[in-house]
């Protein structure tokens, strides 16, 4: 089995890719950081361990959009590949433009101790799509959780409780838009919040404008969010954004039996119409 750095070295030496996006040892303990390797001398920096939480799909649009004819190689876990699938589906990249170094993942951790929450409901230890595969799959000794379990738990609360919960959470938002910047599927060059004619979302922070931003963001990700959790990790006020995203994912799943990021040929359930679609919302 080749290691990631060996593969990267070979790809760069053979001039097959313009860069390799991967993980390297971080400057803080228990953290890794992203590295973009462009020459084979640097390839040794590349590592993979259980601290590689980040979803590197973000670099495929925001750093490399059509800048090169040659593909970009990227190190991807099973969950990250779902984002790439979404990007292909939405015509942001072509499959040939990305060389996926798939890694078999046995769960990752944000702090070096506890498993990341997204890993509890992960069934994709081996990526669905890759060009080369590394790593060994181990038996996961964890209890599998329904991906929507926390949403279902939350839905049990009363309307007032839920409303107050979100108003309290969203009040913390300072509109830094880190959640947007870090999201691999928020690839628009001009976001709706930047539009001024008309101005859809007020730029200042207030209860109502924060609400309209977060609702808009969640709606824009409905049927598209793959649940990588980057938005929530990037939020320095720890707003539980995943809960909002998962709620939308659940609505889409319940109504259209669709999960994002599994099929790059699938049509988006919100853009497509099927004759068997429910019409129970028309009353």
């Amino acid at each position: 089995m080749n290691s990631i750095s060996e593969i990267a070295k070979k790809l760069l030496d053979e001039n097959r890719v313009s860069a390799v996006v991967g993980y390297s040892i971080g400057s803080l303990p228990n953290k890794t950081k992203t590295v973009i390797v462009k020459s084979s001398q640097q390839a040794e920096k590349l590592i993979f361990n259980n601290l590689c939480v980040n979803n590197l799909a973000i670099y495929l649009t925001k750093s490399f959009r059509l800048t090169t004819q040659k593909p970009v190689a990227v190190v991807m876990k099973g969950c990250d590949v779902k984002s790439v699938t979404g990007l292909i589906q939405e015509k942001q990249i072509e499959r040939e433009q990305v060389f996926i170094i798939g890694v078999k993942c046995n769960g990752v951790s944000e702090d070096g101790k506890n498993l990341s929450p997204k890993c509890y409901s992960c069934k994709l230890q081996t990526p669905k799509m890759y060009d080369i595969l590394v790593g060994e799959e181990e038996e996961k000794n964890i209890e599998f959780k329904n991906p929507f379990s926390d949403v279902e738990e939350f839905e049990k609360k009363s309307l007032d409780e839920r409303w107050n919960f979100w108003m309290n959470e969203l009040e913390k938002c300072v509109k830094c838009y880190a959640c947007r910047q870090v999201c691999p599927l928020c690839y628009c060059e001009k976001c709706i919040v930047d539009k001024t004619v008309p101005r859809w979302i007020e730029p200042h922070t207030s209860k109502s404008s924060n609400l309209s931003w977060h609702i808009t963001r969640a709606f824009h990700l409905a049927g598209r969010c793959t649940g990588c959790g980057e938005c929530e990790r990037a939020c320095h006020h720890n707003i539980p954004l995943s809960l909002l995203n998962k709620k939308m994912a659940k609505v889409v799943y319940d109504n259209f039996n669709y999960q994002a990021g599994l099929d790059d040929k699938a049509k988006s359930p919100l853009a497509d119409f099927k004759f068997q679609d429910k019409e129970d919302f028309i009353r």
Partner: protein, 666 residues
């Protein structure tokens, strides 16, 4: 700087009764940027329009709000007036204070306030209106007629006589449709084939008509003026360019006992056949399922005897592309069957034995028994034993007007043809007795009621007002148990033959066909007209028209009249080089479009494509969405799905809608 004029209409009492128009006018005058406001009893009248025209010039107005009825009623009128005063028509907007206000409220105070709100919204919108130009799209001046029944034939002939080319597509081997199967027609009792076949011949020989029989519509692309049709020419296994229709192949074919569809399974045909003697074109078709060669790999007798070598066993389906500007759909009807096993959602008639008894037939089968070209050469005999039936019971409304079977509508023509059947039967079997069970006699039409009276009074048909509850066989006879509600008694008739006037339904597979064309259909799958009164020929898709029984049950004169109407619509459309349409189409902001293609997927009209943006060196910079203005119907689905708000609808821009909404919160 906006200079808006507000024109408030009383619409006689229609608005004035519930809305205080003079108060609305005074308050509207105080709205920001409104420089002139006036009321008038009928703004759509000539003097009313003159007020608008004069005000535009006098006050130098650059935006007009007419507070009156629905834009569907008079938007055109007012925009026309505005143009005459030198303004762009799209700078005129209607505030609907009639349908949306006075007609639906009765509280004058609140209705007056609401009328002002509606005006204020429109004032804010019109300030953001931009002058727009109508869109011109080219027209392919040819038409497609789908279906070669009498409606399709009439439409095709009328269009062709008008000097425009017609492509006719018929799915069966010959044109003629159901009318070719009929014996005589009501109310004149003239021979159906005698009046139809000249028209069939005309179709075949007309220089402007291109006929595709045994062909189906595979695909329809495009829009009004510019449809691209793919036609599947099914395999005949006979080369129609060589065959001269001599019929030797049919004569020699050893497969003799195949049920003839044309004779409603009462007669037989060969495995190579023309459906009926006057078929157009007179080219045989090989029925692959029953052909000995296709079944056993041996035979080819037809090929052996054909001295022109027209038989081609190796033939395959052919796909032909045709470009047309308009489409007439004339796919006709089918009959409801009383069977138990069904492919539709209706119920069969268990009380009539689910159609298992050979002597319980439907009216189309009876037509074939009466017809001189039919399986019995016009002699009325029972299918079971060939005996001449002395008592025939006709039952009307079988399926029709019967909610319990799933069909609520009246099939319209059965009252008339049943009367005709009783007459024709009496003319052939002089000592025969005809009984008719009916619910009501619906004989509205020129000479129609007289015709039914003639059947009863001169030809002695016995009409019994009531339903039949059961039919069962007792030896040689069919016992028909029913009610005569006029004398209030049960009746029992021992009949030799029972004829059911079964409901008219649209052709099978109308739904996928309608979806292919993008036209609407109702719950029975009849194709839908655009407006039940004012647009009975048009469909909701521009450029596609309806003719005949595909829309609703119709008799021959009605189908023919509608076909001619459809033809006149087509000719009207084809008399222009270009079509003008309202400029309410989507447009893309290419700088912020990211090319996710959600709009492309969501567009029901396939009006959106992708477009590559290249730099001066010819390198691809990005791909964006592109709207084909000719196809776009301005529905706005793409606008709502675009996350970066990079697509907008001219005439209904986000900014205009936003201004309207914001005006509500002052």
């Amino acid at each position: 700087m906006s200079r808006i004029g507000v024109f408030v209409c009383y619409c006689g009492e229609n608005i004035g009764r519930t809305v205080n128009c003079s108060e609305v006018t005074q308050r509207a005058a105080k709205l920001r940027d409104v420089v002139y406001s006036v009321d008038y009893k009928y703004m759509c009248s000539d003097p009313g329009q003159q007020i608008i025209k004069d005000a535009i010039k006098k006050y130098n107005l650059n935006g007009i709000v007419v507070a009156s009825c629905s834009p569907l009623m008079h938007e055109k009128t007012f925009r026309h007036a505005v143009v005459e005063a030198g303004l762009n028509p799209f700078l005129c907007e209607l505030a609907n204070i009639r349908e949306h206000c006075s007609w639906v409220h009765d509280d004058k105070r609140n209705a007056t306030d609401k009328a002002l709100d509606l005006i204020r919204m429109m004032v804010e919108k019109v300030k953001k209106n931009l002058p727009l130009d109508t869109i011109k799209i080219p027209v392919t001046r040819r038409a497609l007629v789908i279906g070669g029944g009498v409606a399709g034939i009439q439409a095709a002939l009328d269009i062709a006589d008008g000097g425009k080319e017609v492509v006719m597509v018929e799915k069966s081997p010959s044109i003629g449709g159901h009318m070719a199967q009929l014996s005589e027609t009501f109310p004149t009792l003239d021979c159906s084939q005698c009046i139809l076949t000249p028209k069939m011949v005309d179709v075949n020989s007309h220089k402007n008509i291109k006929l595709y029989t045994y062909s189906e519509i595979e695909n329809v692309k495009g829009y009004i003026g510019n449809f691209e049709i793919t036609i599947r020419k099914k395999t005949r296994y006979v080369d129609d360019s060589i065959c001269n229709g001599c019929g030797i192949c049919i004569e020699k074919c050893p497969q003799k006992k195949i049920n003839s569809e044309f004779n409603t399974n009462l007669g037989t045909r060969k495995a190579i056949y023309v459906p009926f003697p006057q078929a157009v074109p007179n080219i045989p078709v090989i029925d692959k399922e029953n052909c000995t060669y296709f079944k056993n790999g041996k035979c080819k007798v037809c090929e052996k005897f054909c001295d022109r070598n027209a038989i081609k066993f190796e033939q395959t389906d052919e796909f032909i592309k045709e470009n047309v500007g308009a489409i007439v759909v004339a796919t006709g009807f089918d009959l409801y069957s009383i069977e138990k096993e069904r492919s539709d959602n209706y119920q069969g008639y268990g009380e009539y034995g689910y159609g298992k008894d050979p002597d319980i037939i439907n009216s189309l089968q009876f037509e074939r028994l009466l017809s001189a070209s039919g399986p019995t050469l016009g002699e009325v005999t029972r299918p079971s034993d060939g005996k001449i039936p002395e008592t025939v019971v006709f039952i009307q409304c079988v399926g029709s007007r019967d909610k319990s079977k799933g069909i609520e509508f009246c099939s319209k023509i059965c009252c008339m043809y049943t009367a005709k059947h009783t007459m024709l039967y009496k003319h052939k079997v002089h000592n025969g007795k005809a009984f008719v069970f009916y619910m009501d006699i619906r004989a509205a039409g020129k000479n129609y009621d007289e015709f039914v009276r003639r059947a009863i009074e001169e030809d002695e048909a016995i009409y019994l007002r009531g339903r039949v509850s059961r039919i069962y066989r007792e030896k040689d006879k069919l016992i028909v148990k029913g009610a005569d509600t006029l004398i209030g008694k049960q009746v029992e008739i021992a009949a030799d033959l029972v004829v059911l006037a079964t409901a008219m339904l649209p052709q099978k597979d109308t739904v996928p066909f309608a979806q292919k064309l993008g036209i609407g259909y109702d719950k029975y799958h009849f194709l839908s007209e655009a407006h039940p009164k004012l647009k009975p020929i048009e469909t909701n898709t521009a450029g596609i028209f309806l003719a005949g029984a595909c829309q609703a049950p119709k008799d021959i004169p009605e189908a023919v009249a509608q076909a001619s109407a459809a033809a006149s619509k087509v000719l009207g459309l084809c008399s222009n080089d270009q079509l003008e349409r309202e400029p309410y189409v989507a447009y893309v902001n290419e700088s912020s479009c990211i090319g996710c293609e959600f709009c492309l997927q969501s567009c029901t009209y396939s009006a959106i494509e992708n477009k590559s943006i290249v730099n001066s060196k010819g390198e691809l910079v990005k791909k964006v969405a592109y709207v084909n203005k000719g196809v776009c119907q301005g529905c706005g689905t793409c606008v709502s799905i675009c996350r970066s708000k990079s697509i907008d609808l001219a005439g209904y821009t986000d900014e205009q809608i936003y201004s309207e909404i914001n005006s509500m919160f002052v």
